[in-house]
């Protein structure tokens, strides 16, 4: 027996199904029933029932890629805030090997890095590493925080959503599984991407989101184009003319 519909909003303590079903994330079993432990959307896959939370904190998992901010430098490691109840550390040896070098010359407090979670031990110490493609320090760009559980929605099916943002704004976008997003492009376009990403976060639980995002992008970009045409219309004409001459 199931008592809820797919994608229905439920709250903690709501009874979702009976023992015929299996407990997925965001649920727990009590006696013969499966209940929700979160505010979220019901997701039914075969006989497994889960609740996708609408709000959550990032809990580090080995293998995840995250965006972290250096908060402190110790003798042989950097401490990082990874937007989680558990802070992370990057051992100096991961960067320098056996060589002894001054840590702050490489990465300083306030630097933002793209890292991989190498290990999470029993006392929740989160070991981070930089070995892997694309990992390292960010230069320029802006940071946007979203609820970590909305990361899959931001990326979209096979990256459809994130690629649309990249294509329309011509920005680089890197998404950490901890809900931190880095965007770099023309400053004006960075803010457009920020607006769109915030909108996706807010409306992640609604359907038809991809179309709305596309419309929003086209609308904002259209406005910007009009503005710049008004302002620089004559200049552009001039440039075009030069092209013809060439």
């Amino acid at each position: 027996m199931i008592f809820v519909k797919d994608k229905e909003i439920v709250v903690p303590g709501d009874v979702l199904a009976d023992e015929e079903y299996h407990t997925g994330r965001g649920t727990f079993r009590e006696k013969n029933n499966i209940l929700s432990s979160l505010v979220g959307l019901v997701a039914i896959r075969d006989k497994k029932i889960s609740v996708i939370p609408l709000q959550s904190k990032y809990i580090p998992k080995r293998g995840d890629v995250v965006i972290g901010k250096i908060t402190d430098i110790r003798f042989s490691m950097w401490n990082l805030d990874i937007n989680s109840p558990y802070s992370g550390f990057l051992p100096a040896s991961d960067v320098f090997g056996k060589e002894k070098r001054e840590l702050s010359r490489t990465f300083d407090v306030g630097d933002v890095l793209f890292l991989r979670v190498v290990d999470v031990d029993e006392v929740k110490k989160v070991k981070l590493g930089l070995k892997g493609r694309g990992l390292g320090k960010f230069r320029g760009g802006i940071l946007i925080n979203i609820t970590p559980t909305k990361v899959p929605r931001l990326i979209g099916k096979k990256g459809s959503m994130i690629n649309m943002i990249k294509d329309e704004t011509h920005c680089d976008v890197v998404v950490g599984q901890n809900g931190v997003v880095w965007v770099k492009g023309e400053p004006e376009m960075e803010r457009v991407a920020e607006k769109v990403i915030k909108m996706i976060e807010e409306q992640s639980h609604t359907s038809g989101l991809t179309d709305r995002v596309r419309n929003m992008l086209l609308e904002i970009l259209g406005e910007i184009q009009e503005e710049s045409e008004d302002l620089e219309g004559s200049e552009e004409e001039e440039e075009n003319r030069e092209e013809f001459i060439q």
Binding site: K69, I70, T71, D81, D108, V109, G110, D111, V112, F138, R139, G140, G141, I142, L143, W182, P187, E188, E190, R191
Partner: protein, 263 residues
């Protein structure tokens, strides 16, 4: 607890401002959306709730009869207090007011006192013995930048909203008539404008992000006639004479703009 600002965030905000832009799209001299409600707390003799962008605070005024200070026997007493509640930001700690909270209270107090918002002399009931004492408590609920302007706006609105019972003196005794509530002797709508200095620019009503990276801050309290009643320079970097004068100039129009919310 200090929060560490990512270097790239600092760079991006500074860069935008250098280009004449702000991250939230505002002009340099533009306030965020302001909303003001008064009379929100029935148990307070006066109250106001201010929302400035996402910054939210409530100001409550409580009145009681007390002895005046010995150096001002003919004047009512105004006490301004503020609390940066731990609910308002992740780095606000519970406990007695810290230096930021004390500064907020004192600068607000200065603007109201020197701006002669309330005629304290008219709050005297028996010289040297009985005066009205007004407690203004600023309760910060959500911190998203520029508490100062929100606090002064809320404090003035709460004072305008305050009513006390009529007090008469018979045989050296104060008799209060709670049937006849009267407003405070209200004088002047002195308000405050705060600017953040970022690079070589001044931006009005700094957002949280701007406040976190600003070099310096300047607050200007102004009466309706454009005269200045209070000022405070904050932040760890200096500010020039010209910048101060520029801020004063902008504050004239902008305090006027804020004053409309008090009508």
């Amino acid at each position: 607890m200090v929060s560490i600002i990512p270097e790239i965030t600092r760079e991006s905000v500074v860069y935008l401002i250098k280009e004449g832009k702000r991250a939230d799209g505002r002009a340099f001299d533009e306030y965020r959306e302001v909303s003001l409600e008064t009379g929100v707390i029935n148990k307070a003799e006066g109250s106001a709730k201010v929302k400035l962008g996402n910054t939210q605070l409530v100001v409550g005024a409580k009145t009681q009869i007390a002895e005046p200070f010995s150096d001002t026997p003919k004047m009512g007493v105004l006490m301004t207090n503020s609390e940066l509640l731990p609910m308002a930001a992740p780095n606000f700690e519970p406990g007695p007011p810290d230096e930021n909270s004390v500064e907020l209270s004192r600068v607000t107090d200065r603007c109201i006192r020197e701006g002669k918002v309330v005629d304290l002399e008219k709050l005297c009931i028996i010289e040297g013995k009985k005066v009205w004492m007004i407690f203004l408590d600023i309760h910060v609920l959500d911190y998203d930048g520029n508490l100062q302007d929100a606090a002064v706006l809320g404090a003035v609105a709460a004072l305008m909203n305050t009513k006390v019972p009529t007090a008469t003196v018979e045989n050296d005794e104060v008799i209060l008539d709670h049937e006849k509530m009267i407003p405070l002797p209200f004088n002047e709508k002195a308000l405050m404008c705060t600017f953040a200095k970022i690079g070589d620019e001044l931006v009005l009503d700094p957002s949280l992000e701007e406040e976190e990276i600003m070099d310096a801050r300047i607050s200007i309290g102004m009466r309706a006639d454009g005269s200045i009643c209070a000022m405070q320079k904050g932040g760890k970097k200096p500010i020039t004479r010209d910048e101060i004068l520029k801020a004063v100039n902008i504050a004239k129009n902008k305090t006027e703009e804020l004053r409309k919310y008090l009508e």
